[in-house]
Symmetry: C3
């Protein structure tokens, strides 16, 4: 044997990964369009989340698979990481195992509650202002109150996921996070900068699907012990027409901090919607309300249209009207905001 | 049907993207070498921009294609994003459609003016100190004065591009940006922090190419209403010898802010150059001047040599002398700077 | 010829890279698990470094190859760049040439000293608290004292590498860095913010491998003229059992700054270990000491187990006890820290 240790290492670094090209799948989305919001200049922005992802699976035998997924999120209008400062792999960074028992994963990603709720609101979980996903669908709840403020509200770092297999149409999805501080700001007096969670964040959903109809129950408790609960249903009246309904209760009355303005200790919300498919076209329609105790209610009405140019590319147009407190910037202002967008969405 | 909604979603997440490997192309450049600049220590740096990109097209039928391109820029000597803090996809992040009508794209990228000018200066748009691209070729003009100061000077966020098809050798390339603020610093009193553009930035070029000769006209107006205009030509005297000429006028007299030291309300600049090919070798030579009203002029003379080791790899050596104000750091100093570099450029 | 310059450029941008998919290899690692450290909450973290890399080679003929490697490092538990703020390509960003003469590379990467030492400690260069790599193996030495403080301690930016070929089992690996400042903080009075290196950082190792046995000698001098020297050996007693030994001297007595608390002008350290393979399982065991002049010593004992589920995936469990000053946070505290972890490591 004539090769030294270092030679082996260096050869390995450049030659030993012929498997890589078959093991890693690159995928993603780029979505950009024109947007006009009341009292704001015409802007270019996104409707869907924009991703560039890397993922793969490895067959371990006996029906067992190892899997990983790393997903960059970005803003196509400025080229930055999502929102300018979110983690590189904002979409997710998880590794796990899948088998007859279901799937276990560890890392960072969407909570089971947030992931499931997205399938029961009429704008297919778009984080866009015309959709209901990030506000009314979850009654203003945030999954990650102790994360850095630029982070998204529906993901957990430092967590462990379990998804059951589907048995007779039933599935259970759960996650639990550690109490680790993730570098977020102070929340009231109970959670100063650097505070750990006062309880392990926990999230669970149960879904049942018999083909035309699907129902779900979801529950989650975050790091500051706020709780949220949702019940949702979808029903395909015909193959073209799908109706969706979602009701949510958000409870933050056990937290010893001053509630954000515009929110109450308990908030109720509901969203009704419909999707109607006409050949390559699809109409999305929804109406919802969010009603905090002791504060202003929010009403939202949205209408969208998607037209597929191919399996991977569609153009869209949305119109939406939101009446009431809706973002940090407009809290306490009972503003009526009209919002319009047209754009293109391309998957790869 | 035994599968629930979530099961479908999870299977989709790991199995439904067999197309991905054919759809996404990975490409890039890595360029690094030794550099010596008057009064500075020997350093390692780049000559060309360094990229790691992801792009793809999708055939939509009827001659129509959807396309996207996401391009990371980085510094190979330190491993950071370009300049340490530029957006992840500093190169570009655009999605669009291409057909008989030409190409439309939306997102962030090089302006048509900046892209076209780069083809008419003798160092093929290198951002390097030995080249003319970022200073003399554009008479000190910046495309993005309201962007964060670390950003590059030749790109637009929040813009829309149109490139015509080539008809009888003619092509037109245009872009228009929204007035959105992109998080830049204050510029004088008219543009405080967070200010929007006072007019929509607009850029256009027209090119004509009959084979041995090419000419171009370029115009651009930025977010603070500075204007730049260039006329350029290239001529292949023989297949080996190409001559290049470029003249530029930069006008910033309608801006209500104090001009940067070392610049005047109007600046004229011109660059003359030649490229001479000898088998795998290529000589690049150029001379140029930048003459602001009421301020110091800058003269630059550069000589470069590139030697191809293959289709994708070449080594290079440059020598350059710049006499006059040239960067923010040396403004108002009538310094003579000698600059030398040798290095390697590899494309993949 | 009907195509203009711009048309050529744009076509090139979308069509001319059919070679890319064969040229670029994507590879990486994702490693995550549960960790419990004395006096800290249960957390999710990594044991191995997590990478997502892009690399390739190009045959230049005559046995010469061009090569590049760009390696993202990240934290799977939070999705951020490594340690939240390290360079995008923290792993490495290098371009070079390889041939009969060996390999030359330029850019940023692990120093030869740090790379070689990693092969002679029993936890295969894991940066993990149960391993010896980042502290006892190098006697607390840092390769990059003038780098930003978030950066890792074993890499050089702005450097040039040479690895010899392996001749009769012998190999030499060297690197030299420029004196460029890399944006780090002040180090004592001699090295204020923005200070350049007072000497060119230099690193060299020599290795000899005759099959069952390997030995190495390593030396490095960093930007503040601290010096480190190691001698190491490994011996395969049987194919299953490998013994490892490493001794290191770290000298920082020629530096005119106040030494960090818990370190002395000279530090001695040694690590003894064994790896024992049992089918798909492997036991890692090590014991080491670090003894600074005039300060507290550190003792560490670690035991690990790795079980391969496949060629690319293994699970692991470690237990470690460290007695003495060991991190910035615990310096001057003669703390006994127990550390346990279980997790999964997947390569792709």
């Amino acid at each position: 044997m004539k090769k030294s240790l270092m030679a082996v290492a260096l050869v390995g670094a450049f030659a030993g990964v012929a498997h890589a090209q078959t093991a890693v799948q690159i995928y993603g989305t780029i979505d950009a369009g024109l947007q006009k919001r009341s009292n704001q200049t015409l802007s270019i922005g996104k409707r869907a989340s924009n991703t560039l992802g890397f993922k793969g699976t490895e067959d371990l035998g006996n029906g067992l698979k190892a899997l990983f997924q790393l997903e960059i999120r970005y803003e196509p209008d400025t080229g930055t990481n999502e929102s300018g400062g979110r983690p590189l792999f904002q979409g997710q960074s998880r590794v796990g195992l899948q088998g007859d028992f279901g799937m276990v994963r560890i890392g960072r990603g969407l909570t089971p509650y947030q992931e499931t709720v997205g399938a029961f609101e009429p704008f297919h979980a778009l984080p866009h202002q015309a959709g209901f996903y990030t506000d009314l669908a979850v009654a203003g709840y945030t999954s990650a109150p102790l994360d850095p403020s630029v982070n998204s509200n529906n993901r957990w770092a430092n967590a462990f996921w379990y998804n059951s297999p589907v048995v007779n149409g039933f599935q259970v999805n759960t996650a639990i996070a550690t109490k680790e501080n993730n570098g977020g700001p102070a929340i009231g007096t109970q959670y100063p900068v650097g505070a750990q969670a006062s309880a392990n964040p926990f999230s669970a959903t149960a879904t049942y699907n018999n083909g035309p109809a699907a129902v779900m129950l979801g529950y989650e408790r975050n790091a500051v012990e706020s709780k949220v609960m949702s019940i949702g249903a979808t029903f395909n009246v015909t193959p073209e027409l799908k109706l969706l309904a979602l009701a949510t209760r958000h409870k933050q009355d056990n937290i010893r901090f001053t509630l954000p303005a515009g929110s109450g200790p308990r908030t109720k919300a509901w969203v009704l919607g419909a999707n109607y498919t006409m050949g390559p076209g699809k109409i999305l329609a929804g109406y919802g309300r969010k009603e905090p105790d002791n504060s202003f209610e929010t009403k939202q009405m949205s209408l969208g249209y998607e037209y597929s140019l191919s399996k991977r590319t569609y153009v869209y147009a949305d119109a939406s009207r939101k009446d009431g407190p809706q973002t940090q910037a407009t809290r306490n202002v009972d503003a009526k905001i009209n919002f319009y967008t047209i754009g293109v969405n391309h998957s790869f």
